[in-house]
């Protein structure tokens, strides 16, 4: 990612866009922030917000005509916020807290003719910028028409305060000036730049034709002259319009004095549109709290209650749904910036590595985002870059890649024509996880397919390469896919019948030349088997896998099959194209185990009934728990009468590892009658352990087979430690990179495992 790509991505995320009120405010007062402070009774902080943006808050805060109000999102679920009256409350109960700084004097003779609120604002802003202004009015006081219009709302002392403020910033104030055309004409000579406030300055006194005013800069046709304020067309008088014009003119005049462009980058000045996206669904309605005494305004209690109605407009639509973004407390804009910074580190700790590797690459956020922010694409591309530049932490995906290699290897992989045939029209591809989770179901569904499809249906036990792709291992992934395509080619290019949505997505995207069909769509078109388990009376909640997000036909077939077999089902609160990942996608649960658990819980929590139905093996594995009953649809169709699909135990990493190899061995012997191959001697070691130890091994990503290897090595070489106090043994073995340790004791016909752990740090090779 380079800087221009970063900027383009950042621009897609709208979380930092102005809320509707701020965008609609001509001077962009942070009304949302103000409401938050007032709701918490943090009056000083509230006042700071006004002091920061408003010219003369003691005046403007009392009489703001709240042009923001029609844009307040609260209106969709109640009445819009009474922002004006709340500002009035704030300035009534606080004095100035924050005084914006005054910049060093830069020179330039500046005059403001007319001391209405726009003239006062222009004089204030210019004086703060280091261009002390001379503010000239024919009246005996400041404010132009304001004091007459506002009446009792504005106590006279606020104008004294304003005068003091102006003088404090170095402005010169001339009241009661006798102005005629000749005097004004002389000002054109005397001053470099002049602002005319139409609320307080009589246009008839202009020594030149006022002509048209530039709407962006407020420049008049006369060089160095600017004009604004007063009443705009036939609109009613607006004090906010005065403030906006004064501020806009001050910026133009400053730029004029600097000799730079008056028009560049002024799009967000004044009331402007915002791309903010806020969903109000689910927020309870609330009506406006009005002041019991309109003359006195809000009491403290009323103000707090009214401010608390603010819904603090923001987007965060993706974050609301995604366990990953919630975990790292990021929204896409901040996330990509962290990723960019992480990649820029030359020396030092790349502290965002874990974050980059924790995304499930599921695309849910992209579907939710009004601008389709591609978080998955960014995380995936970054992983590829990390691998390519040698910055991928070796342990992040080692386990999953090890399992992939094992699945592709001779222990598990198999590709055969249907027994008794020499050609295949179809090739059943159950996928690595289904084969590991439900080997019996895979066998029964294969047999069923062979009975119902013509033209020969081969079997292909392998892996689509998704783990390599998710890990950012582009080369490895490409090799896996290329080998797979070669094998399919050698089988005569049959059509793959694919059970897993992830495999289907991978083939669709990366191997478009392969003929593939979803198992669910194939089954939906066939007569379905007789159901051999007690169909529940209450509906099961269907959990779509995240990889079926773009597989509408698959999702429809699954529902059609359920209807045909009379399995009552209902939908999740969020599913279909918005489905969450269970934690397996993107190898999330390997790079970040605790987060994987949270993702599974979040997905399971979308259920609308007590029991669920998955059609992805990993969804079922991750969501099934002591409290959640969850069936896999294939297991419902081809149920083993002895095992209830809803309550079958979770298989676990070691179980899946073991069953993949056993499935191959069994099918070779039952279907193809091959002589049994001898398996590695360590596999014969009988190992008992408590459930607690099983869980510990899972958490540490250690397979039971790893422990068998340690014990086999120790017992055949006699190299182990011994604890005479309890008879236990402790040994280690390093098959490749990781050193595994097993603490165990001999039992009758095997061993009892008491603990297992591993490390990647290398010890010096000991003499044996």
């Amino acid at each position: 990612m380079d800087q221009s790509q970063l900027r383009a991505l950042e621009a897609l995320c709208i979380q930092e866009e102005m809320p509707f009120c701020t965008a609609a405010c001509p001077i962009h007062v942070d009304a949302r922030g103000l409401m938050a402070c007032l709701a918490k009774d943090e009056l000083r902080e509230a006042r700071k917000i006004l002091d920061r943006t408003m010219p003369f808050p003691e005046i403007l805060g009392r009489i703001c005509d709240q042009p923001c109000r029609p844009f307040c999102k609260r209106a969709e679920i109640g009445d819009p916020l009474a922002i004006g009256p709340l500002e009035r409350y704030c300035v009534s109960v606080t004095g100035t807290v924050l005084k914006p700084p005054k910049l060093p004097i830069k020179g330039g003779a500046v005059a403001v003719l007319g001391a209405g609120f726009s003239g006062m604002t222009a004089a204030l802003d210019l004086s703060r910028k280091g261009r002390p202004a001379t503010l000239i009015t024919a009246r005996a006081r400041l404010g132009g028409s304001l004091p007459d219009r506002a009446g009792a709302l504005l106590p006279p002392e606020v104008f004294d305060q304003a005068e003091a403020t102006l003088k404090g910033y170095g402005a010169d104030i001339v009241k009661g000036a006798s102005l005629d055309r000749e005097t004004v004409d002389s000002f054109l000579e005397k001053y470099d730049v002049i602002y005319f406030d139409w609320d307080d300055f009589d246009r008839d006194l202009l020594p030149f034709s006022s002509g048209t005013t530039d709407p962006v800069t407020l420049a008049l046709e006369q060089k160095g002259c600017f004009g604004g304020g007063g009443v705009e067309g036939d609109k009613p008088f607006s004090v906010m319009h005065q403030a906006e014009n004064g501020r806009r003119a001050a910026l133009s005049m400053e730029r004029y004095l600097q000799g730079v462009s008056l028009t560049a980058q002024r799009e967000k000045e004044g009331a402007c549109p915002t791309r903010m996206y806020t969903v109000t669904e689910g927020i309870p309605r609330a009506s406006e709290i009005t002041a019991a005494s309109p003359i006195d305004g809000y009491t403290a209690e009323e103000a707090r209650a009214e401010a608390a109605r603010c819904i603090y407009c923001e987007c965060l639509e993706c974050v609301k749904k995604c366990a990953y973004l919630q975990e790292f407390q990021e929204y896409p804009k901040t996330l990509v910036r962290k990723i960019y910074n992480n990649q820029a580190i030359v020396q030092g700790t790349r502290s965002a590595n874990r974050m980059i590797n924790s995304c499930s690459l599921c695309w849910q956020c992209t579907v939710i985002c009004p601008n389709d922010f591609p978080v998955a694409e960014v995380c995936h591309a970054t992983r590829q870059e990390m691998v390519a530049t040698g910055h991928m932490p070796p342990s992040a995906h080692a386990f999953a890649l090890g399992e992939m290699e094992y699945t592709l290897g001779e222990d598990c992989a198999l590709i055969r024509h249907q027994p008794g045939t020499t050609a295949s029209r179809y090739l059943f591809f159950p996928g690595c996880q289904l084969a590991g989770t439900y080997p019996d179901t895979v066998e029964r569904s294969y047999t069923y397919l062979t009975q119902h499809l013509e033209g020969g249906i081969g079997l292909f036990l392998s892996c689509c390469g998704a783990p390599a792709d998710w890990a950012g291992q582009s080369e490895l992934f490409s090799d896996v896919l290329s080998d797979l395509k070669t094998l399919v080619g050698q089988m005569g290019k049959p059509t793959l019948i694919v059970a897993c949505s992830s495999c289907l997505a991978i083939f669709g995207k990366h191997a478009p030349d392969l003929e593939v069909m979803s198992l669910w769509q194939v089954l939906d078109a066939l007569p379905l088997p007789e159901i051999r388990f007690d169909i529940p009376k209450t509906p099961l909640t269907i959990h779509d896998p995240c990889t079926a997000r773009y597989q509408e036909g698959v999702r429809a077939s699954v529902r059609s099959i359920c209807a045909k077999i009379g399995l009552p089902v209902t939908e999740t609160t969020i599913g279909a194209e918005l489905a969450d990942c269970c934690g397996y996608g993107g190898l999330m649960q390997f790079a970040n185990r605790p987060l994987g658990g949270k993702a599974a819980d979040l997905k399971a929590g979308r259920s609308t009934t007590d029991e669920g139905l998955a059609y992805c093996a990993m969804c079922r594995e991750n969501m099934v728990g002591s409290k959640t009953h969850m069936a896999h649809l294939l297991d419902c169709l081809f149920a083993d009468p002895k095992k209830d699909p809803l309550t079958r135990a979770r298989v676990g990493l070691s179980g899946r590892h073991e069953q993949r190899a056993r499935l191959k061995a069994r099918l070779q012997s039952t279907l193809w009658q091959d002589p049994a191959e001898s398996s590695a001697p360590h596999r014969a070691i009988r190992l008992e352990m408590d459930d607690e130890i099983r869980v510990l091994l899972e958490e540490r990503l250690i397979l039971v087979e790893d422990m068998q290897k340690v014990i086999h090595q120790a017992e055949t070489t006699g190299r182990y430690l011994h604890n005479p106090a309890n008879g236990r043994r402790l040994a280690s073995f390093k098959p490749a990179v990781v050193t595994y340790w097993a603490e165990y004791e001999p039992a009758d016909d095997g061993f009892i495992l008491h603990s297992g752990y591993s490390h990647r740090m290398q010890l010096p090779e000991a003499d044996s």
Binding site: G348, T349, R350, S351, N353, R354, P393, P394, S395, A396, R700, G718, R719, Y720, L721, H722, N723, P724, A725, R729, L730, S732, T739, W741, E743, S755, Y757, S758, H759, R760, M761, Q762, L763, P764, A766, D767, S768
Partner: protein, 69 residues
């Protein structure tokens, strides 16, 4: 380079040599980094003990730190 000691009295004995373990300096390495540490080792055959709390604690912490360098 300073040596950190992780040597702690232990009931583990080397089964092959029938020896109690003794503290000894060991060079452990990971991702181009070398650390001199003191661990419990069999004085006869150099069997090195990495106790569970070390492997899942400090050692893991350092491994992860080095992986993010």
């Amino acid at each position: 380079m300073s040596t950190f000691s992780f040597a702690e009295a232990t009931e583990w004995r080397c089964a092959a040599c029938d020896q109690p373990l003794q503290p000894a300096k060991v060079r452990v390495t990971y991702l181009n980094s070398v650390f001199n540490v003191e661990l419990m080792v069999c004085p006869a055959c150099d069997f090195i003990l990495v106790p569970e709390n070390l492997a899942t604690g400090k050692m893991l912490e350092v491994e992860q730190l080095l992986e993010d360098k």
